[in-house]
């Protein structure tokens, strides 16, 4: 708007038209706005539950009891809690990863396939080295590094397709997801099939010493938990505190201007793919070394797509990854009980998660519209 040309001798007060983040026009107003935002987010949550309840009622199930069952399924016993944490780790990794690509303005739909490739390369290195005399811990480290590299390269492939081939990363990623799935199936039923006959249950399980140590009697490995949390911290610091993160954001917000200002844009876009793919590959590696101890057909379990949803839900703010991913993990694990207790499909958690993302985005859109209106009306 040229009307705000503050260099004309107008009696315009000093300062910008809009309050920047630093000064929000008095403390009282600032906290009020924070409360309003919090209230709106809660409203979205309530609406998501209402919407899911409607779905449940249509399906002829009692909603309230279903939610109780989900809560029980997620937190009734120590095993439940540990299972939630087991699901939390790949979600942390995938969501932290997609935050990096989101920051660079990229839709890394291929994160699913990157998890798969991480799992495949981890399995490959484990198979390759299991018969050697190397110490098991070294084999595990090498295998996981291979997994990270596998995911990163698979992501870089999508990036290269975009940068040099002009293929939109959404299409490239989607295609590579299919390729990754086909690759696992071929490996499981072909070269890596169990002695005798290949089956959907996956490859031959690895001996126990080739897995990450888990808590007694549980599937939870403190190692993987630590890796997941470290990944979130890493991404937070990368995006908020480093020059590389600032440049990634610059590329994401205005690629042309970033280029003209001297940022090597395609290199940073590839870097974003590489980092995200590495984290996704690590998730795949953890699924193999700590959870399944073998390669199974659906090793990624949809965690990549869930990670994308979490990224949208938290509006790309790294600080929210951990709690929201935990909530999603709890929903996933909690709903496993549903088919047994209520004869409901466990995909109910998916309905709830989808409704939540949609409604939060909707509420956020409405909020911004309202803000714009009140801004033009104010003064």
């Amino acid at each position: 708007m040229t009307e705000s040309g503050s260099t004309t001798p107008t009696p315009v007060p000093e300062g910008p038209t809009r309050p920047g983040p630093a000064e929000a026009g008095g403390k009282g107003r600032f906290s009020r706005r924070t409360w309003i935002n919090l209230g709106l987010q809660l409203a979205a949550l309530v609406l998501a539950f209402l919407l899911t309840s409607v779905v449940l009622l249509v399906a002829g199930a009692p909603p309230f009891q279903a939610y109780i069952e989900i809560a029980k399924g997620a937190a009734e016993s120590f095993t439940d809690v540990s299972n939630v944490l087991v699901a939390w780790v790949p979600l942390l990794l995938a969501s932290a990863g997609v935050l990096v690509t989101f920051a660079a303005g990229l839709w890394n739909i291929g994160v699913e396939g990157q998890i798969v490739l991480g799992a495949v390369l981890t399995t490959w290195v484990l198979r390759l080295l299991m018969a050697t005399s190397l110490p098991p811990s070294l084999i595990i480290v090498l295998a996981m590094l291979a997994g990270i590299l596998g995911g990163a390269l698979w992501a870089a492939l999508a990036g290269v397709l975009k940068t040099f081939g002009g293929v939109n990363e959404i299409f490239g990623g989607l295609g590579l997801n299919f390729v990754a799935t086909a690759l696992t199936l071929w490996l499981i039923f072909g070269p890596w099939k169990r002695p005798g006959i290949g089956s959907m249950s996956g490859t031959e399980p690895f001996p126990e010493q080739l897995g990450l140590p888990t808590l007694a009697g549980e599937r939870l490995s403190l190692w993987s938990l630590a890796l997941g949390l470290l990944a979130v911290i890493f991404v937070y610091i990368l995006l908020e505190r480093t020059h590389a993160g600032l440049r990634l954001k610059a590329v994401g917000l205005n690629r042309r201007a970033a280029f003209l200002l001297g940022v090597p844009t395609w290199q940073y876009a590839l870097l974003a793919f590489f980092v995200c793919g590495g984290l996704a590959g690590l998730a795949g590696a953890i699924q193999v070394t700590a959870v399944y101890h073998r390669l199974i057909p659906s090793i990624s379990s949809g965690y990549g797509f869930l990670g994308l949803m979490i990224g949208m839900l938290i509006a790309y703010r790294a600080i929210w990854v951990a709690p929201v991913a935990l909530f999603f993990a709890a929903l996933n694990i909690g709903s496993i009980q549903l088919p047994i207790v209520l004869k409901l499909d466990s995909t109910l958690s998916g309905v709830l998660q989808g409704a939540l993302v949609l409604l939060v985005l909707l509420v956020e859109g409405a909020r911004q519209r309202y803000l714009r209106r009140s801004r033009t009306r104010a003064v």
Partner: protein
């Protein structure tokens, strides 16, 4: 249709874009709306055409109170706006463009529409090729298309926002004839401009806005100094000429040729010295931007060589040019120049030399504070760039260009700025010239070109003439060249040929310190 606006107010934050404007325009009038940048003209017209709601105030058409919530609403009430940049759909055919926005059935009635529109166009003596693709039309033709479209949709009030920018003199003449014919039919025309001589030529009444208020109205014969006083309330001077003492050669172009789309030039030879300023004149889209981009390494030349301080950079990348001290500042500030969403401090962190892996926010703030003071930017380090006004964005853009460059390439550096910002910006640029930096800039403002350049190249349809010494060239000569005249004709008494870029070419204005084109 009579238009009556009463006490229209529109505020953007603390800025009062429209501060209680009351204006009545009788049917059959061509009403001029004059004012410098930021006076509130565009805001008022956007309110009248339904693009944005007023905070308060009343709009009456033929005495009937109307509320307009959208442009579609406005056109239903008979108000249509012709925008500065044509709002059409380039890859579509003309006839399909007409059908968009027309109320109609699911299956568009192409043939009926085409016949009706052809008849309408013919009645105004305009030839519109309905089968052509919009992308292949000139700006002037697209404007005619838009005008016909609005009339076909039943517009009885036509708003034209700076309609003569970028069209040829012939097209301007046609446009003015059409507008006069429309007024004779009882249609109301609101003609927004800051070019005095056009308003003088066309309008039956003029309203002058300043700082969001209506400061006066005038009837013909208009007195230029009177209008100028109303617009600015002060004498305007661009400041003294600053001539440099050129040093060594910075840039040498030999036999340079470049091509982009339909724009193409060839065989350009030019040497630019340290501290020198070269102005590129010509209608927009005549190849000036292409030359800048070729000099920045953004567009590879098709022939010839580009040498910077002796080193041959032909075919090298933008980043290599940049490393060698070439700074390119694009015309579109928020599209190409700055990064909306990032703060001023983050912009400086982005362009300064990195220190380690981690960001030193304190350092960012310090640099930003320094540059904000140095470039007189109204804003804080934490302000995002999109929250700044246009003038301040332009200052920020310039503040991002590190001192100690060798060659500054500026595309339309003062477009959309008010005169004080222009003067301030150039005082900063000339400081750089004194620091031995060379400048090449494009502008559509003849006074600016003549005032601040040492030499001027004139672009006309891919032909480059000059360089001319700015000190010994007059506005008339330059205007003549831009319109396609040759240099030798320029010495005789000449007439302004071109409608778009020529500001001061009208004899009425030439003598006053203000020439219309300055405020482009």
């Amino acid at each position: 249709m009579e238009v009556r606006l009463t006490d229209i107010r529109k505020h953007f934050g603390p800025v009062r874009a429209n501060d209680g404007i009351t204006l009545t325009v009788a049917a059959g009038t061509i009403q001029g709306i004059l004012g410098e940048n930021g006076a509130g003209k565009s805001t008022l017209m956007k309110i009248l055409s339904g693009f944005q709601p007023a905070d308060s105030g009343i709009i009456e058409l033929d005495g009937r109170l109307v509320r307009m919530r959208s442009p579609a609403d406005a056109i239903r009430h008979g108000v249509g706006m012709l925008h500065q940049d044509p709002l059409d759909f380039p890859p579509m055919k003309v006839v399909d463009n007409l059908l968009i926005g027309a109320p109609g059935r699911i299956v568009p009635r192409r043939r009926e529409a085409a016949e009706a529109v052809a008849a309408l166009a013919a009645s105004f003596g305009l030839a519109l090729d309905l089968k052509a693709e919009v992308g292949s039309l000139t700006v002037g033709e697209r404007q005619q298309l838009e005008l016909i479209r609005l009339l076909w949709l039943g517009a009885r009030v036509l708003i034209l926002d700076e309609p003569t920018t970028g069209i040829s003199a012939d097209q301007r003449g046609e446009l003015f004839d059409t507008l006069r014919r429309l007024a004779a039919q009882g249609k109301t025309v609101l003609f927004v401009s800051h070019k005095l001589e056009e308003v003088q030529e066309l309008c039956m009444r003029v309203a002058v806005l300043r700082q969001g208020r209506l400061v006066g109205e005038a009837l013909p014969p208009f007195r230029v100094d009177n209008l100028v006083n109303m617009m600015f309330e002060r004498e305007v001077s661009l400041g003294d000429r600053y001539a440099c003492a050129p040093g060594k050669t910075v840039l040498r172009l030999s036999g340079l040729g470049a091509e982009h789309g339909r724009i193409r030039f060839e065989g350009l030879n030019l040497e630019v010295k340290e501290g020198e300023t070269i102005g590129l004149a010509g209608m927009e889209g005549s190849g000036q931007s292409l030359l800048l981009q070729t000099c920045a390494g953004l567009a590879p030349p098709i022939s010839g060589r580009v040498q910077l301080v002796g080193a041959d950079l032909t075919g090298k990348t933008y980043r290599q040019f940049k490393r060698r001290g070439v700074a390119y500042v694009p015309a579109t500030r928020l599209e190409e120049g700055l990064i909306p969403g990032l703060s001023l401090a983050e912009h400086f962190l982005l362009t300064e030399k990195k220190s380690g892996i981690f960001i030193n926010k304190e350092r960012g703030r310090r640099i930003a504070d320094e540059r904000i003071a140095q470039f007189n930017i109204k804003g804080t380090p934490a302000n995002t760039v999109e929250s700044l006004s246009g003038g301040n964005q332009q200052r920020a853009l310039l503040a991002l260009v590190k001192p100690g460059s060798k060659l500054l390439l500026l595309e339309q550096p003062t477009r959309g700025l008010d005169v004080e910002s222009v003067i301030y910006l150039w005082s900063k640029l000339k400081e750089r010239c004194r620091g031995r930096e060379a400048i090449i800039f494009t502008s559509s403002d003849l006074d600016e070109l003549l005032r601040y350049s040492d030499r001027i190249l004139v672009f006309f349809a891919g032909r480059i003439s000059g360089p001319f010494q700015a000190a010994s060239t007059t506005v008339e000569e330059l205007g003549h060249l831009i319109g396609g005249g040759s240099a030798s004709d320029g010495t005789g008494p000449c007439v302004a040929v071109d409608g778009a870029a020529v500001g001061g070419a009208g004899t009425d204005v030439a003598g006053t310190p203000v020439a219309g084109g300055l405020y482009d």
